[in-house]
Symmetry: C2
Subunit: 490 residues, 2 copies
């Protein structure tokens, strides 16, 4: 894939937009499955490149590729089902209560060419063929993918496979394109032909891009997934819980947006299991020298903060090529230390470092959470069986639901499943626009409503026709509606 | 209703947020119906104030109040139905293809306190108790309404009625509040406790507010409905069509966001019916002196543009109080004149002024439309019966659907019905975020997704519980899903 000019890329995406939008749903679904199959067929080649470029383990990358392929299949199913189109058909009604109403039919249509920025930490699942690409293609939008510099060869090879599979499946030429370089990404984000953007990465870069998207002459939606520290609130802390915590915070060297950055435990809990478990975790390379340097600095700052008790010092050392290798660092603080050093302690640490917070009483947690953690991808509660049913946790759960995209009971936030009900997104800074980037609801980010009034059947998109050739769910509002509203009130 | 400080207003809205969000759906629905009933009961009082403050006719205001009450009832029905919650329940599945999956349940929850800016031109339907308020309250969000200065007394009285009806129906205190003054509106929009904004008005003010919302430390969604010129493409122009056009563009003195600002007709069409119809339209007061002055200037600019043929000069004169009274102004131009004077001619004229464009050939219309009208609330096609079914209009309809929220076939864009399938919103500058502000889909603007993972039934919101106490639609994804995806591809 040779690098075209940004202008050519935008023009190509626009040319592909209308024919792609008009592709019958079952063909678009089949094309997504074809991409999944092509990725699986090239699995060992892709995983070899990914291992070299990212330092992630083979097992992790195999799982990630499986998840990436499944994601495409789940979206294929979503597309073919057609429920995501939210088809509404209002029959004409001369006696409608506010005056005669015409025949009005509404569905969600593709928003147009989408620019997605790949992440470094998931070279498959949040990169070239990842969730944002799958969701935008499923929606019927041409995709331009800005490659992450952390895995350039993998990006090129994956993009070739994706583009080829789509074209072989009969999708219009240019429906998937790859670009590289931050300058090119920014230039394209400013291009009026791009109609939406998506991003997973740092708060700093994500906010910069969101601001560009919002300040264009024609602003566009920008779905950035930025920072999250995923607090966990435990009413008890036994060694099993602490071991599981260290496993979750150190998996993939803690380079996950759902890493539990904070674990709240009752004051006086025995935390010795942390050091034992952390000592058993093998060192892991960080994704690239830049991330490694940032982690080392962040770790130094946390270890040097006043009032911090070190539970596991871990280490972070670099090789000749500047790659940083780390083992888990875990510290503990009391609540006052946390609130008095929030500038140092509250920031996300991208890497294997987490903070255990010792709290004096459970009643203070809801207000403390609301103050310290206004926007997160996840929040988690660990409580004993009886506490989960006695109502005492309701204020905490309310506070978590108001500030998080996903609230967990037991378990750990890492290892996000890809399912219809998944929410991966939350109040800012978790995401710039509070939408999900994982799960089938992610498709709604790339759709816009269009109504057709008084249209002849011949000029309606197939999902809105009475003969419903694609067999999608249609919600019909029949004449006489105006007289029914009173039935549910006393 | 006395003016509280902005800080108190925000604090009150936050206090109301959680109890309001937790109100059972049938109670929230009943409260919306109670507001509708209270407005109807006060109808003659409110209409008297509105006539005096806006200059709109009694018949128009009666219809608008009926529509406003209906809008609340339709949202009540939407709330009680519960389909808008998009409930998804994924059963736990130890054999899920990408690894064991937990029980995950997702629904849409209220986004939090919403700040709505009222419009001048619909003192009921897009003002205090209008569509944005109805949608946000239906979603379960406390509303702060920034009154429009064009109808202050009506705003105060309406707000009293709304707040009282909500409180009598058992909704939390402070769920609906009124503020006045642009400075207060801007200050509250900057307040971190406000979680979304909505607006109907000018492109200038709307964009300023959207930029404020986007540049906050914590950006929020801002749903502005700004400018739209609603082009109409006719393949013929007989006197019935021209009469209907003049009726539509001059209704409510052309002060409607769906006014057809441009009518494209074939070159050589006989346009004499325009002047005859326009002459029969009685003069109408514009909403306020500011709008009157702006209209007069705009009218002078269009009448003075090179290449413009005046079909109906109309007039615009002001009284001692500065109120402007106008009759319809209609001019015609050829396509070259329009494209060469786009700075003067393309801008929206808020008032009874429209432009008829004479086009040489129908084939040029799709490209011309895409170039001149990238974002509109509506676009309309008038064609003969045989043209609607022979496929020749498909390129034009594609271009209209890509640039408009609603595409009409026959009929006129004014007189927007309030129905489940209505779309009132389109690509920028029609709206700042491409969502609808009319119809039941407007509720989605004020919702955010939240997932609950592994939650005990006791801690789930009622719509996600297995016993489904509110009887809402639940989409369940059962174990074994992973083996079904292949069934639809060959």
């Amino acid at each position: 894939m040779t690098q075209k000019s940004i202008d050519e890329v935008a023009a190509t995406a626009v040319r592909a937009a209308r024919p792609f939008a008009r592709t019958p749903l079952h063909q678009r679904g089949a094309a997504l499955v074809a991409v999944a199959q092509a990725l699986e067929a090239a699995g060992s080649e892709l995983i070899d490149i990914a291992r070299r470029e990212t330092g992630l383990s083979e097992a992790r990358l195999e799982g990630e590729l499986r998840r990436t392929a499944w994601q495409l299949r789940l979206f294929a199913e979503t597309v073919v089902d057609g429920g995501y189109l939210d088809v509404r058909i209002d029959a004409a009604d001369p006696d409608y209560v506010i005056g005669p109403r015409p025949d009005v039919r509404r569905m969600l249509e593709p928003i147009g060419p989408v620019l997605n920025f790949a992440a470094s930490n998931f070279p498959f699942a949040f990169s070239v063929a990842g969730g944002d690409s799958a969701a935008a293609l499923a929606a019927g939008c041409p995709v331009v993918l800005k490659a992450h510099s952390g895995h350039p060869e993998l990006s090129r090879r994956t993009a070739e496979i994706v583009a080829e599979a789509l074209e072989s499946a009969g999708m219009p030429e240019g429906v998937f394109q790859l670009i590289a370089g931050q300058e090119n990404g920014v230039a394209l984000l400013r291009d009026e032909r791009i109609r939406a953007g998506a991003f997973t990465g740092s708060t700093h870069i994500g906010r910069m891009l969101a601001d560009i998207a919002a300040s264009r002459p024609v602003p566009i939606p920008f779905y950035g997934e930025l920072g999250s520290v995923n607090p966990v609130y435990a009413t008890y802390a036994d060694s099993a819980l602490l071991e599981a915590f260290v496993t979750s915070m150190s998996g993939s060297a803690g380079q996950l947006c759902t890493k539990p950055g904070f674990l709240f435990v009752p004051e006086g809990a025995d935390l010795t299991a942390v050091a034992d478990t952390a000592a058993s975790v093998a060192e892991h390379r960080l994704l690239n020298p830049g991330i490694g340097r940032a982690f080392s600095q962040r770790r130094d700052a946390v270890l040097g903060a006043t009032g911090v008790t070190v539970l596991s010092r871990g280490e972070a050392h670099s090789d000749d090529a500047g790659q940083v290798y780390a083992t888990p660092t875990v510290v503990s603080v009391d609540v006052d230390t946390l609130t008095q050093n929030r500038d140092t302690l509250l920031e996300e640490s991208f890497g294997p470092l987490s903070v255990i917070v010792r709290y004096p009483d459970r009643e203070s947690l809801p207000a403390l959470h609301a103050e310290l953690f206004p926007g997160n991808l996840t929040s988690t509660v660990h409580a004993r069986a009886e506490e989960l049913v006695d109502g005492s946790l309701t204020p905490l759960v309310d506070a978590l639901a108001e500030t998080s995209g996903r609230v967990l009971f037991g378990g750990w936030p890492t290892g996000v499943s890809v399912t219809p009900a998944m929410q991966h997104g939350g109040p800012y800074p978790a995401t710039t626009a509070d939408a999900t980037s994982v799960g089938t609801a992610a498709i709604t980010r790339f759709l816009r409503g269009v109504s057709y009034q008084g249209a002849p059947q011949e000029l309606l998109p197939p999902p809105l026709r009475d003969d419903n050739p694609w067999n999608v769910p249609q919600r019909r509002d029949e004449p006489g509606h105006s007289h029914e509203w009173g039935s549910f009130v006393g």
